[in-house]
């Protein structure tokens, strides 16, 4: 067992120093090499800056450097002796829902950034709502620019308390024991508490940002959920010695599969047992969520791409009509009655959007009944699909509860869809923090 891998996004308002924080993480973990640093120094001098602008390590496109903004999600890589990190740097402005959803969909943790002078702002609420909706298990609030508030403990603790209240109202646990919400005071510019512990915040006893990122568990709730495997491809060598070989290739979406397990193939409903679980390196005793495998079944069943192999004792429900929450990502608004394509697991089918039930105001967390959904909107809709789909509630299993809506003529994705009501949206307006802050 070598080093493991943590994927996480960073989100925050424009100009709160997110690119600088990312640059600082890369720089202080020595993930930036001399030619990149020299390029940044040259560019900083060209821009007339006195100190190297670490954000230039991150903003890669010509337009970004010219305009000093981040246009699109960028992926960064760094590592320590114990762990590798894939950081999705998600810009905070116009298409913030689209970017945050993209960065958060594969994450086990998200880092939210606020400016110590401004605290929790509208964008923080929106980002936190999207992260909660996508069931990212852990949040880190990095309070940046603490040098600009003179490392004032009172200011920083007030922001932490404010954020804890927001996180609780979105369904996160704020018990200090389970580390689901952690607040860290940092200065990306100076480097306080990012990688190195700061002598200027002696009252702060928690971990540095990197220390926390290195210690949180990398496995999500998927590992303990019932087994699901969307079939991607049927492997049939058709050679003489493997004449009857029929392997169902896919990535385990949740749970664990072992030879001998009772499974059901959906939507067809045939039950059988797992004969073996294989990779190119040979058979496995067990394979858990995240692993790409080839499953062989005991019985000859008609099974093809798009089908789902699931634990027989806890199968997903098979339905062609369900409610879902949509994060609308497109400039093209959604109207009731729209005929679109839906990709769930490895199956793409036609879908008709029925009633638009409600829309979430991410600032106030209040609900209203919308006529359309526009870009960045989050709302609940009724869907009817042409083929029955084996779905789980997104709140139970992210991998089989998530889907894409696609625009048929262009093929462009329109929305991230979540089966069910993962935020408990109906209850939200009345939901208040039930316990006092820390």
């Amino acid at each position: 067992m070598g080093r493991d891998l943590l994927r996480f996004p960073t989100a925050g308002p424009v100009a709160d120093g997110k690119s600088t924080l990312v640059g600082r993480l890369l720089y202080d973990t020595k993930s930036v090499l001399a030619d990149q640093i020299e390029a940044v120094q040259r560019a900083s001098v060209d821009k007339g800056l006195a100190t190297p602008d670490l954000s230039l390590l991150v903003d890669g496109l010509r337009a970004e450097r010219e305009q000093g903004i981040t246009i699109d999600v960028a992926y960064r890589y760094f590592g320590t002796p114990t762990r590798e990190f894939v950081l999705a740097d998600t810009p905070g402005h116009v298409q913030y829902t689209r970017n945050t959803v993209t960065g958060a969909s594969t994450a086990e943790l998200a880092v939210l950034l606020v400016d110590a002078r401004h605290g929790v702002v509208e964008q923080t609420r929106r980002h936190a709502a999207v992260l909660a909706l996508l069931r990212v298990p852990r949040l880190v609030l990095a309070i940046n620019k603490i040098d600009l508030v003179d490392y004032d403990q009172g200011v920083l603790e007030a922001i932490g308390k404010d954020f804890a209240g927001l996180a609780r109202s979105l369904g996160f646990s704020t018990d200090s024991g389970d580390d689901a919400v952690v607040t860290i005071p940092v200065s990306a510019l100076v480097g306080d508490n990012v990688v190195e512990r700061s002598p200027r915040t002696p009252w702060y006893e928690g971990p540095t940002l990197l220390g926390h990122l290195e210690s949180v568990p990398v496995t999500g709730p998927e590992v303990d959920a019932p087994f699901r495997l969307p079939v991607q491809y049927v492997i049939r060598p058709r050679t003489e010695e493997l004449h009857d070989y029929r392997g169902y290739a896919g990535q385990v979406a949740s749970g664990t599969v072992r030879p001998g397990d009772e499974v059901v193939v959906l939507p067809g409903g045939h039950r059988t047992t797992v004969a073996s679980v294989e990779t190119a390196d040979g058979p496995l005793e067990a394979a858990a969520a995240g692993r790409s495998v080839t499953v062989l079944l005991a019985d000859d069943i008609d099974l093809s791409r798009g089908d789902v192999i699931a634990a027989a004792g806890a199968p997903p429900r098979v339905t062609d009509a369900f409610d879902a929450t949509l994060c609308w990502l497109s400039e093209k608004p959604l109207h009731p009655g729209a005929r679109l394509l839906l990709k769930h697991g490895t199956r793409t089918t036609q879908v008709i959007v029925g009633e638009l039930r409600d829309r979430l105001d991410t600032d106030t967390l209040a609900l209203s009944v919308p006529k359309t959904l526009a870009i960045n909107d989050i709302g609940r809709v009724a869907l009817r699909t042409a083929d029955p789909l084996p779905v789980d509630d997104y709140a139970d299993i992210r991998a089989t509860g998530g889907f894409l809506l696609i625009d048929p003529p262009t093929g462009n994705p329109l929305a991230a869809g979540l089966v069910g009501n993962p935020l408990g949206l109906v209850d939200l307006p009345s939901r208040e923090p039930s316990t006092p802050g820390p």
Binding site: L61, G290, T410
Partner: protein, 300 residues
């Protein structure tokens, strides 16, 4: 019984295999770009693992600049023969000979690969083209998707990229468009080397330390070849070198190295103070946005 968490290499391998299988399931005519270099050799290794015990259901395509290292071409042909794969080669020289391309003044042919690539995609009706690009290579590549839609001109528009959510890749495209696919997007140079070591993947000999006659240009050690050089006051000298990347001979430099084994290469990469492109690719030093410009024009 608990099942061990996947380590970083297992996780990256599973992700790449998932991408290969999605493309096999959703596209009609995929192809793997294969030069015999380490990243494309890794791609082929992953493709073999994705479909074993059946054969890889795609052919390979090499855009051959003609500025090659003989060891690499030999290696390329040996892999193709061993795995029973089909290799298509588009020779840049053919495009120069019939006037569709003109040789550049500096003799570099890397930028000339774009037209033969796009022509081959149209002619063979490829709808998905696998490349070995990694996001850690360069700042513009850090913004690239795993599945990246290209219009009929092969252009990349970073402002119009599709969001990629969960592992639901969306490869839908109109006739005439195609998709570039990067299964090892999330690998770093070090991941690539560690995986090559773990899997015992053979590479061309030029990735390991050897003696070679080279000359100094723009701070890099270039080998003698049909691309011109040494010229003027450049002179050949025998050095102990290896290659960190393998591309067009005119703009790919060797680094001085005594690393003859994978362990030594990994130690060297770990300690390196330069990125592989910064150290050895003249084409990426041309301007701040050299890679972005090439990508926008339809190159990888």
């Amino acid at each position: 019984m608990s099942v061990p968490v996947l380590d970083a290499l297992d996780s990256l391998e599973s992700e790449a295999i998932h991408v290969f299988r999605e493309v096999a399931g959703e596209f009609d005519r995929p192809v793997i770009l294969f030069s015999g270099g380490k990243d494309s050799t890794l791609l082929v290794h992953l493709a073999v693992k994705a479909f074993a015990p059946a054969p890889v259901p795609f052919p390979l395509l090499h855009i051959d600049t003609g500025h090659n290292y003989p060891e690499v071409i030999e290696f390329r042909d040996a892999i193709v023969a061993r795995l029973g794969l089909r290799l298509e080669v588009a020779h840049v020289q053919d495009w120069i000979d019939d006037g569709r391309l003109t040789e550049r003044a500096d003799g570099t042919r890397n930028p000339l690969q774009t037209v033969p690539l796009l022509d081959s995609i149209v002619e063979k009706r490829f709808d998905a083209v696998f490349g070995g690009g990694r996001r850690d290579e360069e700042r513009a590549r850090a913004k690239e998707r795993v599945m990246s839609l290209r219009d009929a001109f092969g252009r990349w528009d970073p402002r119009k990229q599709r969001p990629e959510l969960w592992n639901l890749y969306n490869g839908r495209h109109a006739a005439g468009e195609h998709v570039r696919v990067f299964p090892i997007s999330n690998w770093t140079e070090l991941d690539v080397w560690r995986y090559i070591q773990r899997e015992g993947i053979a590479l061309p000999s030029i990735y390991y330390s050897h003696q070679r006659e080279v000359f100094r240009r723009d701070g890099m050690w270039l080998a003698e070849g049909p691309w011109g050089g040494p010229r003027g006051n450049e002179s050949l000298e025998l050095r102990t070198v290896r290659y960190r990347t393998v591309g067009d001979g005119s703009c790919t430099g060797a680094v001085e190295s005594t690393a003859t084994t994978l362990d030594e290469v990994i130690a060297e990469v770990t300690a390196s103070r330069l990125t592989e492109r910064g150290a050895t690719r003249a084409d990426d030093r041309l301007s701040e946005a050299a890679m972005e410009t090439r990508k926008r024009e339809g190159n990888f």
